[in-house]
Symmetry: none
Subunit: 199 residues, 4 copies
DNA sequence: AATGAATGAGCTTTCATTCAT
DNA sequence: CATGAATGAAAGCTCATTCAT
């Protein structure tokens, strides 16, 4: 169930192939599988094949590793989300793209990292929370802009902020149950979520 | 933001008023606010006003405290959910009651405990997970029974299991943002979720 | 291998049948089987069927229990040894009786208690060691008196003190290996030790 | 009486001069003087001049330290015993060498470690007991081989196993009373024990 | 950059002892 | 005398971090 070395896990696309990137990749995987607190730096060192002491040549602290995982994750997925929004001018089409993009982020190639972003928020030091939060707000704004257009069109009849929260919950929860090889494809799932969102 | 003694927090209704119950109440609150790993037994002792060593008079281990919080939470809310289901014979009405009941569980009088049940699952020892999981399955079955009736009526057009997962995500996510004193009441929120669920 | 309640163990004759005596009996057995440090007062309470707190109505401290076990053991076995010495006037016969008596003490009806006396000496508080030591010296003096008579007779050609130490070691070690139901009787063993001691 | 730092104690020859060896040396001394249970890892750390946490860099647990002390002790003294046996072809001469060798082990340069091997047996975890026991049996076999040859020659008239037990008790007990600077030399003591063993 | 031994604060848990009932 | 909840000190052990090599 849980891999014992970094070779055995699928690549998480938001990290590059440098030693530093591999480290973040291993960290994201372990933080996702075991939680930040339960992952020791020794374990992380073993997982990626260096001594635990050497981690601190790349990062100032364990907290710093977590912050960087989150930062790169949000930067990468913010770009993906923006690109999705720009793929159409019609709000409903835009929404479809956003849903698909976020589902890919969460259940696909950056799933572990996204889960860390969501679940380990409280593990991040206060100062770094502020920094990451600003990016999260930009990310959310992409959603809100589209939903507000749908409100104007009358296709969404509720407060955009709350509506996004409900959808965001439904989408992010998929991390706990969605299996790519399961009975439903990501496109089908996208349609289901869309149906929830607009009549 | 975070209370420093048990007197300052609202009562969580699934725990009684015995010393043991107060302990569970304090544990649920602290596990919710800080996470299980970051809550030390010393902190917990201080919070409820006893020595940390005395905790082990009531529970064999920290893990045992977590398991009991989860057990009592699920027992209490399972009863609430069942009662909600029985309040009507019409599936759509039933669904409305289930949504309201779960929203109350999560944002209301057992919110902290429910959040622990969801978030600290991985912190529970393997053996105890199995025990709690059985109860969770019974809980979920109440939902599935109602949704399947709605499928038969054509009011839900999708796989009941997946549909429930999406709704469950939306509902449980409210723990992160819903404020009772905010701009929307629990009844309004219930209607919004219901609208998502059925046309 | 290890009994879980006092009913299952053979009576140790140096303790009487009062509640206090039963307590000492249980303590001797547990200290013997597990060691003084590894025996908790809770265990001891459970073993004899009372609450651990109640032990302290009978004894001031755990150390006090150990001291009393030792005291009663040495008093009882000192009496037995003296009686053995007085059973004959011939030194060689006397020695035979002493050997037999000590073997009975160690492998027989007070074995557990004697083992405690020997092995847990260092666990006894300094002040109580002094008190018990005086009795041990009296006990040893019975041996030395007999051996010195054998020296005079030329049947022992070595320093009485050292000779006794060697014999004492051989005898007390039997606690680790002698089984009453084994291939050798206590009388045969007595003769073997006697043969070691005198030509 | 009891040293407070490792510089003040005589070297125990079965441990080398590495940090790890010094640690074992300190452990052997403290376990000998105070007992395993009464020696805390903090005390041990102080004694050898490192933090208690650092002990666990070298050994997985306190139990592991005990096991290693025992293992190295028995390996070293097994070699010494074997060499002693090979120093002559005559069984009686061999026995003399064995006695001397074991007396040296117990009262000389490995005394503390041998005492630990004998006294703290019950403190060792069950699995490790099995491992050490195998070595002890090989050690005992050297004795039994020689005694059996003496049985054949008629110089010992008793069961070899029991005879060894009696002698072993006499010898190992010397740890409690023999002082090198006392009135008797190790060679004289060897002759006394030999006289007990064979006519 | 990497190593790996060392640090030291902090963790969960144990346990002899106390004391109100 | 007995109970059993509570105490509080101390136990074994963990772990992020440092630093000389």
């Amino acid at each position: 169930m849980i891999a014992t070395s970094i070779e055995q896990i699928p690549k998480i696309v938001c990290f590059d192939d440098s030693p530093r990137g591999r480290l973040l990749q291993g960290a994201a995987y372990l933080f996702y599988k075991q939680g930040y607190d339960k992952t020791t730096v020794r374990q992380l060192g073993e997982f990626i094949g260096i001594q635990s002491g050497s981690l601190f040549h790349h990062f100032k602290s364990k907290d710093d590793i977590l912050a960087t995982v989150m930062e790169q994750t949000i930067i990468y997925n913010f770009a993906r989300l923006k690109e999705a929004a720009e793929r159409s001018a019609d709000p409903e089409q835009q929404l479809r793209h956003l849903i698909k993009a976020e589902l890919v982020s969460i259940t696909g190639d950056t799933g572990a990292a996204m889960a860390v972003l969501v679940h380990e928020w409280a593990s991040l030091s206060k100062e770094k929370q502020a920094y990451i939060l600003k990016m999260r707000n930009e990310y959310e704004q992409v959603w809100l802009d589209v939903i507000e257009k749908l409100c104007v069109q009358g296709k969404v009849k509720h407060d955009a902020f709350i509506w996004r929260r409900l959808m965001g919950g439904a989408i992010s929860w998929t991390v706990t149950w969605y299996k790519p090889e399961g009975k439903i494809s990501l496109d089908e799932l996208t349609e289901m979520v869309l149906e929830m969102a607009v009549k």
